[in-house]
């Protein structure tokens, strides 16, 4: 029995999957790759970089806004991190390196001001967002919200996570208000942000979904499927607010970016993406 045992051991060692070896190899590789990137990230970010944490409904309009900001002659580099407003607020509270926070609900900014992570002086509401019901299904004709929700061909209704995404909270408020929540509940799927919610609808995996008007008006999604507006009075207003973070107060470029957001050119761009502009 000795010979086959030796051979089998050899074969296993050379070909077999050894979990411990694999684990330590990946650990070593991870550390090796991690050190240079940490070394590169160590120098302080240059003052001409504006790091923006933006609510997901703003992702497309920010492409246009940032292009305009740069066109104005500001040579700052704008970097965008997008997500659900609640998630971004949690990141900032835990030390995420953003200069500007654009939230789809001022409540998240308020909580950061209270905890000393954002600058109250810089707080400003710069746009009102709009909620729409959207489908990319050719077989579904959108006329009314209630008709769409009660449509038996609608298997999946996408909304954003009502706890962290303001557009999700708005969608929930609409369904509550129209007494459709219980009819919809078993068919709801939750996007992690309004952008993921739109992606569920765009790929056709959700039959209909409550998304931001700014997303369906964006060049990337324009003319895809059909949408109907959701009346404003059915949900709390979707106020898009901006604030400098504690870190951003030391960044002149971040201040210029905030001033730009309130300027005429930015207003025109925001209007084009379906936002209402407060006077």
């Amino acid at each position: 029995m000795q010979t086959p045992r030796c051979r089998e051991k050899f074969r296993e060692g050379s070909l077999g999957f050894n979990f411990t070896q694999f684990f330590f190899a990946s650990l070593a590789l991870g550390i090796a790759l991690r050190i240079p990137s940490a070394a590169l990230a160590a120098p302080a970010p240059s003052a001409s970089t504006v790091s923006v944490a933006a609510a997901a409904n703003l992702i497309y309009v920010l492409d246009a806004l940032d292009a305009a900001f740069t066109r104005q002659g500001d040579h700052s580099v704008v970097t965008i991190a997008s997500g659900a407003s609640g998630n971004l607020a949690a990141q900032i509270r835990n030390g995420a390196p953003y200069d500007v926070f654009l939230s789809a609900d001022p409540v998240h900014i308020r909580s950061l001001i209270v905890s000393g992570h954002a600058d109250e002086q810089s707080f400003a509401v710069f746009a009102h967002g709009q909620l729409v019901l959207w489908t990319t299904r050719p077989s579904i004709r959108l006329t009314e919200i209630a008709t769409a929700i009660n449509d038996t061909r609608v298997n999946r209704i996408a909304i954003a996570n009502p706890i962290t995404a303001p557009y999700g909270a708005a969608a929930k408020a609409v369904l509550d208000r129209l007494n459709l929540w219980s009819a919809a509940q078993t068919r709801l799927v939750f996007g992690e942000s309004i952008a993921q919610t739109a992606q569920f609808v765009e790929t056709g995996n959700a039959d209909i979904g409550f998304v931001a008007l700014s997303l369906v008006l964006a060049p990337q999604l324009k003319n895809k499927g059909q949408w109907i507006p959701v009346p404003d009075e059915l949900h709390p207003p979707l106020l898009q607010a901006a604030v400098l973070t504690e870190r951003g107060t030391k960044n002149p470029a971040a201040k210029r970016y905030l001033a730009f957001l309130r300027g005429e050119e930015a207003r025109q761009i925001l209007k084009r993406f379906g936002y209402l502009i407060p006077e």
Partner: protein
């Protein structure tokens, strides 16, 4: 510009009052769902993975290394790559999603079945590779003896080969089970976080952290940590025993 006078929309879902061992019913539900997903995935991994491992071990087909590489791909592939392709593939707008919807009348994305398919793909190498090693470790003489006594190849495989390789097979199944518990990226992309259907433990923990309920998150994370540790300990013991008995 309005300053400070903005109306607030505070959104809060009611906090579940009843807790058991410090975990809310929603978290227990997600834990149960995860166990169910992992168990079903493990059964499928056994049924699909064992013949596959045997075939990979014995085939002389030239393209076999390509198949073996494909099976191993999820070890290195970002889960978001799998998630993205599944999201596109599951869409009822085109095949195979449209085909599935026609045959079964329900879409694959955001469904438990969809998660099972994703988990099997995602955990396949973690089961198949230990299976291959385990099946290889059985001395060919034993199998020859079985054949000499008149058993057919299937009977030898089922009655001699698999029982002799049981430790390695158990290790592979446990690893497949444990790896399914650890699944996050794929489920985040195709799950839709539906309570009781696709809101598995890793997603529930993520949601708990997002809503900043760190107390629940701590308890839940510790629970998952302990479960994962015990499962890996089982794998280690199964594999150690195999090595030790062999070197005697």
């Amino acid at each position: 510009m309005s300053h400070g006078d903005a109306p607030f929309s505070v959104s809060c879902l009611p906090e579940p009052a009843v807790t058991f061992l410090g975990l809310s019913p929603a978290l227990w539900q997600s834990l149960g769902l995860t166990a169910q997903l992992a168990a079903i995935t493990t059964v499928v991994l056994g049924i699909v993975g064992l013949p596959l491992a045997h075939w990979l071990n014995t085939t002389r087909w030239r393209a076999a290394p390509l198949v073996e590489t494909l099976v191993s791909l999820p070890i290195v592939l970002p889960p978001t790559v799998i998630g993205f392709y599944l999201l596109i593939g599951f869409s009822p707008e085109h095949a195979p999603g449209s085909w599935w919807q026609q045959v079964f009348g329900a879409p694959l994305a955001f469904s438990f079945t969809g998660l099972v398919i994703a988990s099997v793909l995602y955990s396949l190498p973690f089961a198949v590779q230990p299976f291959q090693a385990a099946l290889r470790s059985v001395p060919p003489e034993m199998l020859d003896a079985g054949s000499a006594l008149g058993a057919g190849p299937v009977r030898v495989w089922l009655r001699v080969h698999l029982p002799l390789a049981w430790r390695g097979i158990a290790a592979g199944l446990t690893l497949g089970f444990a790896h399914t518990l650890g699944e996050f990226g794929v489920v985040l992309m195709i799950g839709g976080s539906i309570p009781g259907v696709t809101r598995v433990a890793s997603i529930a923990l993520y949601d708990e952290v997002q809503r900043m309920d760190y107390r629940q998150a701590h308890t839940f994370a510790a629970t998952l940590l302990i479960i994962s540790f015990l499962l890996l300990l089982a794998v280690t013991l199964l594999q150690r025993h195999r090595h030790l008995t062999r070197s005697v």
